[in-house]
Amino acid sequence: MSDVPMNERKLVGKAVRRREDPRLLAGRGRFVDDIALPGMLHSQFVRSTVAHAELASVDVSAVREVPGVVAVFTAEDLQLGDIVAQLGRPLSEFVPTAMPILARDKVRYVGEPIAIVVARDAYAAEDGLEAAKVSYATLPPVMSEEAAFADGAPLVHVEAAHNTLVDVSLFATEGIDRIFDAAPCVVEVDARTGRQNALPLETRGAVAHWDDREEQLIVHTCTQIPHQVRTVASRCLRLDERAVRVVVPDMGGGFGQKCVVGREEIAAAAAALKLRRPVKWIEDRKDALSASFLAREQHYRARAAFDTEGRILALDADVVCDMGAYSCYPFTAGIEPLMASAEMPGVYKVPAYRVRGRAVTTNKAPTGPYRGVSRPQYVMVMERLFERAARELALDPVEIRRRNVITDFPYKGVNNITYDPGSYLESLNLCERLVKDEGWYEKQTAAAAEGRHIGIGYSCFSERTGYGSAAFAQRKMQVVPGFDISEVRMDTSGAVTFTTGTMNHGQSHETTMAQIVADELALDIGKVRLHQGDTDRITYGFGTFASRSITIGGSAVRLAAAKLGDKLRAIAASRWGVAPDEVELADGAARRRNTQDVLPYTEIADIAYLQAHLLPKDIEPGLSATATFDVFNDGTFSNATHACVVELHPGTGQVEILRYVCVEDCGVAINPQVVEGQCRGGIAQGIAGTLFEQVTYDAQGEPSATGFMDYKVPTAHEIPDVLIHHLETPCAFTETGAKGAGEGGTIGAPAAVLNAVNDALRPTGVELDHTPITPETVHRALNGAPSLESSS
């Protein structure tokens, strides 16, 4: 934390009621589809119906004849620049690929946009789609990792040999093979995780129009990264960046899917520019499920060596991530393999490590970040390795973790990352205690005697949050997110407006960041208002992802508020003719220490703005302050242990979750209720990926799920209540002591659920390593039928 002591904490740490709620509860939020502009048109996209083909011809002449259709544009009509995401790595490690806004010569997945139809309403736009005639010269689709690597496989991108976009070997401890050869215990896991949709309930969408008065293209879009959308829009449309303004309204979730630049929002903007009329695009659910950005389809072949006491000696992993048809901007197809490679050792003291991470391109919808990015997968694999070792060595599964978790901080890992202090062992012990105190081990034993199948599973992990520029630069991203800027401004009524470059989409920033500012300036929270998501009002920002908002954004906010506080003190001090450190801020006023002298902010603001002649020469008029914050070390690690208790039903194979316990530590919780909300929601998404959700394709590349009948988002019936216990190990270098809390729930849940299922399956001798686990898989395991899981 900075040298400036935190002002007295009145709101930070409290479950302050959310500032966002009243409008959202009254139906007065403003989401992108709520925006209606005079003369506005509606658009939809002609999309590829085949997975892999040369575009032979695109005939849209009949589209124009459809009643209500105003215009239709193909790639040739718009002549836009491509989206190209770059890593600063040699071609042997990373192959850059271009993603055209509309497909030009080739289509690479079912759902790829080919033309934009603009009409008087969304109904007519969809009528227009049906009149487009696209002919394809089909190519064999590449639909799996194995097919992509096969000799002579068709190439999704001709420039990417073996369909490989990323191939990095970041770590290889010398002599690691000898460690494995000599180790008394080596366990292996071959695990696959299903392709998922982050699935914000609000689909993607945008409303764009050209403003003649401002000479600006104004793009209202639901994005987690407004400034990066502005950059791409300006480049694709060949406008100065000044001439593009990205405004983000209320957002109905994002979870990473809205953290990349979408082709459709750029195309809608291009159509608006061409037609000089507002153009709206709202993705429908069918497109959101089949043609949006997906995530998580990974294959791990991992092994770990242990000594006879259960101490891990070495970890060796080969990770292949199926990134689909294109690299996403700004993260690239490296997002998943680089994350997995860099962080896989996790909370454990792993002395030797080797990893190869690859991104393979296939004829599936492209992937982007999704809450947790690779961590739900590699944590699951690590936790499986430990469970398997515990079985081989006849150790208790919690005990083997106890022997291996990092306990001395800061800890420099084999992956060259320095871990700041956390409560790895404490959370593990407490979580086990909570499970024991509720009697689950006794219940398990009693159930087994009745022939029932109850299992208990744990997951112990940490989550790097607050990735600063240094950490992302190490990944060699060409767009290096990291810092954040905040401006805090006070008006003559003593009310404060402040900005952040992060972008709330459910995380409660209007509340939590206001708590920080209100405490820092000793103001009533009602006097404090956040502005976000407008590239004209916010100097710059990298948006919200990677649990960076409170750690980095919140720190910038606090620094800016503290600077403004300094100015308030300086002005008051000048009025009293004392040194600024004689002045303190309390209850909306400057107070002279040990006296009754009080100068309310309204009076200071009066001087700063309306009576500026009263200011001393060295103080500028006005009351505003700007500060930036960045992290120059490896970031800060939140941590948690989850426990899950399941019962498997032999008649149906159903996995019923009986109990879920989470002991988490995200440092100082600015608003504990908000933190719990993040945990619960994250755990629900983790469970969803482990037991329910998966995007699959048939051999021709047709996606299986175009609706919620097939993409099974779990309901309140499937998601259990979660008992949450907080620990607090404050971060030493964020301005509030907070660590990030956005992703932990999702990261921990798959391992806990999978371990619990395997614990319940123990008497059968079957172990499951692939997710999602289906009822049929469990049914087969319980009833001795041959498994459907295969590692090929």
Partner: protein, 282 residues
Amino acid sequence: MKPAPFQYHRARDVDGAARLLAELGDDAKVIAGGQSLVAMMNYRLARPRHLVDIGGLRELDRMHRDAAGGLHIGALTTHHTVETDPAGVLRAGFEVLKKAMTWIGHLPIRTRGTVGGSMTHGDATAEWCLLAVVLDAEFVARGPQGERTIPAGDFFHGYYTTALDPDEILVEIVFPRPAPHAALTEFAERRGDFALVAAAVDLDVAEGEVRGGRVALGGVAAAAVRVPEAEAVLTGGGSFEACASAAAEAVEPPADASGSTHYRKELVRTLVRRACEEAVSR
């Protein structure tokens, strides 16, 4: 996901609706609650040029018992009305219907969805189709040629097809005899989903003994089916276990992404047993 254009016709009585259907031919579709049809139209999987809305025909929204104890359900009765049974007409013999409603979608689907709509949609896993088959329901349809009654055994023809003529309106479903020992149960991966397999039984119980009964399955064929092999086991005094096994062996459910043939047969075994146990304990 916006429907294709159509013309909207609001029926003022059954005969008028039937006449209009006859006039419009294949381009017309009846809409009642619309809980399946509108979704299909939003996907443009269904694109009728004419929609005949019978939703306003209140005379089709009622339930009553006849002198013989049979139950008459108007085609426009909602699942929710059956579930809540405000007039108490399901007492003494038709509690099975009330209980079965909780398996249909969710509350906001049940408030709009109708018994007749579900029957005429003819989904292979639909609870109403299964109930009709196991309880030997009769379908009263009215068209330009007048009224006729179709037994359940002849009503369901396969995937989403029924015995109704295009110009016929289903007006009433009759469950001829009380079924005090009937039960329906099913399994889906997620609450409210269409069942992977659904099972319904209607047991004949006398002096505490099961003397026979009817067994029907959904999700194992193109339409809900009776399973005579399983019924024979009940008649012969066999155990529920044996009845369930006979049912599992008698069917060959097609495999899909949610489950193989083997798994669905295993679900049949589990669910038939569960349904029998539930039915006998009533």
